[in-house]
């Protein structure tokens, strides 16, 4: 293979790899969704309004209101220190309940309400979204031995 051809080959490899990397990295920044707690959300500066984020907390007991014949649900989400109102439209997961942990995805508006159409709940009774555990949110968790001995 001649030198010119070799350079051509290397150039085309670099071009393709570069193009694909550009595609990936170009999309990367736009598709990062940050996670916050309700306390962080209530003290948001206006430049966070309307951005897609995730918020994790516990669904406040007695706060859930279902609008009949629609897919709209509103509830409040708390981390113990702050509470935010959430307007949700869509299908909540099976394990979404009052008094349980949930992570909502959506945006915070200037009227101080959170709009969401995606809720992620725990996958099992003793499972808690990892983001919440790290954020220091602890939920009432049944002790394995106690429940088993009843």
């Amino acid at each position: 293979m001649s030198k010119g051809r070799k350079i051509g080959l290397i150039l085309s490899i670099l071009l393709i790899a570069g193009g694909l990397a550009y595609l990936g990295l170009g999309q990367f920044g736009q598709n990062l969704v940050y996670f916050f707690t309700p306390s962080e959300v209530v003290s948001f500066k206006p430049d966070y309004f309307g951005k897609k984020i995730r918020v994790g907390g516990m669904v406040v007991q007695g706060s859930m209101q279902v609008v009949p014949n629609t897919l709209k649900i509103s509830f409040r989400l708390t981390d113990g220190a702050a509470t935010i109102p959430v307007d949700f439209e869509g299908i909540p997961p099976d394990l979404f309940k009052e008094g349980k942990g949930a992570v909502v995805e959506g945006f915070w508006d200037p009227e101080k309400r959170f709009h969401s159409n995606l809720i992620m709940a725990k996958h099992s009774e003793d499972y808690m979204p990892i983001e919440m555990k790290q954020a220091g949110i602890t939920l009432p968790k049944k002790d394995l031995l106690k429940t088993l001995q009843q």
Partner: protein, 650 residues
């Protein structure tokens, strides 16, 4: 009592695996063949010991022995027997047991089959396999022990996570692990080649079938997981770029690159360092896959444990394997110069090169998206997740490029393709592709995704058709037989090549399924009561009932829906909203009706107090092609593994 025997057997296996690491190497260096043989016996014995451990666990599950902590955590007396056995791999500790059991089985089989034919590399292979075994057994014995007892003994178990109570649980994890662990064999042979200095093509020829088998198991495992998520999680999709899906996809991507690039080394003695690099990366990604999923660093349905001690151990073990792999490769790389250089860009070698480039870019994309959130969390305190649009943006062009190469690669000549070779093989397919794309436009396919699909699928399909037609014609002429028989004879005469093409056909079928079910999916979510109807494309769905049903360990509200096409009743669908009382977990069970290779998919995600239900109805056209394609891919691999010896060359 039995559980203690199992526990003891596993501890003994840990000790024996340490013997298996050291004794074959010492035996080789000091010229004592009996010491080398001890290593072999240790591997075989370990298979029996870990089997005893597995049997003890299964026995405890079947006899509801809740004094064993792991059984208490993942089983329940009301759990059907079927799931009690599968409950063994329903948690972190048991999954590790399954992993290491598969590893001992593979190792025993490899040692038994290749002992005589590969005397030089065998001692190193035994040592490397024992090292992996040791790593996992140490983790089982010291950090994630499934044999641990608890006191006081609970009256009943906590139950297997209801989402895992599905027939797929019996086959999906073992299949995936057969794939992950299967890559340890080419990895160990590669390491043995590096250590022993036998750096020719031998290790590739020996492991070719093992790699194919591992790849097939991994492919099947991933597709089963996709189908399971599709009907169980109820969102009607089979792939969501979830971190755990990604974890199994990364070794698949690099493993696929490896399967292709070894052919270049076999035929042309090129890419030597590259192939070693690829297999080390593939196996490392298999380890990362296992650990990511099981260690609890990711938030997902598959994650069980969150114990920082385990995380640290895993990181150290992984780092050790990576340093060992790449370190040896770097030390030996001086001896690995290819003697031959690439002749031309327009050649089979170069298509393989770009194939590898694309697969690796794809793997890097997934790697970045999956691990970036973990990195950010460690470095900053912020938590992020990466959305599917990122993956889709990269995978569209990558898949397109790979598909085109799938058409070009098999037919283009080695070294340097002549203009004649190109014209004979590709002029017609290009014409067909242009016509098919125009036809797609005319029948109303206007999305970029759909048109690109029509272009590539028709191009590749016609290259394959031409390939088959030519070879049949040649054999028919030469042996004066009919075309069908000629095709059969030509196929079996060079079965390695044509079995590979069968796998490519499977890929094409799958691509059609993916495109159709993605861009032509119809979805409707409506609140309904008994007597209500809804219209979904040409189907009318009528809700006619809602009643209570129950199974062995669950109760459910079951809806009854009639599906009409025009006035004709075509089927009844019964989606359920289940409750598993032991863990107080509700689940949504979908109801599916297959029609024209597609699905009518119904779930009832919510039931109100006044018997009004939320109904989610989907039409996923041609979605079955995803798994039919997967089946054809697996068939291709089976034909490849069990191919007859090559007789004559044409």
């Amino acid at each position: 009592m039995f559980i203690e025997i199992g526990h003891f057997a596993v501890i003994l296996a840990l000790v024996l695996s340490a013997v298996g690491i050291v004794s074959p190497i010492l035996g080789l260096k000091t010229n004592r063949p009996d010491w080398v043989r001890i290593g072999r016996q240790a591997v075989t014995l370990n298979f029996f010991l870990v089997s005893i451990g597995m049997a003890a666990m299964i026995y405890s599950f079947l006899t509801n022995d809740y004094s064993v902590r792991y059984v208490a955590a993942t089983s329940n007396s009301k759990l059907p027997i079927f799931y009690k056995v599968a409950g063994l791999w329903g948690g972190h500790e048991g999954s590790l047991m399954l992993w290491v059991w598969i590893l001992t089985a593979y190792s025993t089989l490899v040692v038994w089959m290749h002992w005589r034919t590969q005397p030089v590399t065998m001692p190193y292979l035994v040592s490397v396999q024992s090292l992996i075994m040791f790593g996992f057994l140490a983790m089982i014995v010291f950090l994630s022990n499934p044999f641990e007892r608890i006191y006081p003994v609970p009256l009943d178990g906590k139950d297997l996570n209801p989402l895992l109570q599905d027939p797929a649980m019996v086959v999906h994890p073992p299949m995936l692990y057969l794939g992950y662990v299967g890559f340890s064999i080419p990895f160990a042979f590669a390491m043995a080649a590096l250590f022993s200095g036998r750096l020719g093509e031998e290790w590739i020829k020996v492991t070719q079938r093992w790699t194919l088998f591992a790849w097939m198991a991994l492919t099947t495992g991933i597709l089963m997981g996709g189908y399971w998520a599709y009907y169980e999680l109820g969102w009607g999709g089979y792939w969501g770029w979830d971190p755990v899906e990604n974890a199994s996809f990364m070794p698949w991507l690099v493993g696929t690159a490896f399967l292709h690039s070894v052919m270049v080394q076999e035929k042309r003695k090129m890419f030597k360092v590259w192939n070693l690099f690829l297999i080390i990366v593939t196996f490392s990604l298999s380890l990362i896959g296992t650990f990511l999923v099981r260690s609890g660093v990711l938030s997902s349905v598959h994650t069980f444990a969150t114990d920082p001690g385990r995380g640290l151990y895993i990181l150290i073990f992984l780092a050790f394997m990576l340093i060992l792999g790449f370190g040896t490769l770097i030390v030996r790389s001086g001896r690995l110069k290819s003697q031959i250089e690439l002749d031309s860009i327009i050649s089979k070698e170069s298509v393989f090169l770009f194939n590898n480039l694309f697969f690796l870019v794809a793997a890097a994309t997934v790697f970045l998206g999956t691990l970036y959130p973990l990195l950010v969390e460690t470095l900053k305190t912020a938590k992020v997740s990466v959305g599917p649009p990122y993956y889709n943006a990269v995978f569209m062009p990558v898949a397109l490029g790979l598909l085109l190469m799938m058409g070009i690669g098999p037919s283009i000549a080695w070294r340097k393709a002549s203009t004649d070779n190109l014209r004979k093989n590709f002029l017609l397919p290009i014409l067909v592709a242009v016509i098919a794309t125009a036809a797609a436009w005319l029948i109303g396919i206007r999305t970029v995704f759909g048109m690109a699909g029509a272009l590539t699928v028709s191009f590749v399909a016609s290259t394959i058709f031409i390939d088959f037609a030519k070879i049949s014609a040649l054999w028919a002429r030469r042996h004066e037989i009919n075309y069908l028989l000629a095709f059969y004879q030509a196929f079996t005469n060079n079965q390695r090549r044509y079995a590979g093409i069968v796998t490519h056909i499977g890929v094409l079928v799958m691509v059609v399924g993916i495109i159709a079910s993605t861009i032509y999916q119809t979805e409707k979510v409506v609140p309904m009561r008994i007597g209500d109807t809804m219209q979904l494309k040409e189907y009318t769905i009528k809700m006619v009932g809602l009643h209570e049903v129950s199974g062995a360990n669950w109760t459910a509200q079951e809806g009854l829906f009639e599906v009409y096409k025009g006035d004709r009743l075509i089927t009844e669908l019964r989606p359920q909203k289940r409750l598993y009382p032991v863990s107080q977990t509700p689940t949504t069970e979908s109801a599916i009706y297959a029609v024209h290779l597609g699905h009518i998919f119904l779930t009832m995600p919510d039931i109100g107090e006044d018997n009004s239900v939320t109904v989610r109805a989907l039409i996923n056209p041609l979605v079955l092609l995803v798994w039919i394609g997967g089946g054809i891919m697996a068939l291709g691999v089976i034909l490849n593994i069990f191919r007859p010896r090559m007789k004559t060359s044409v």
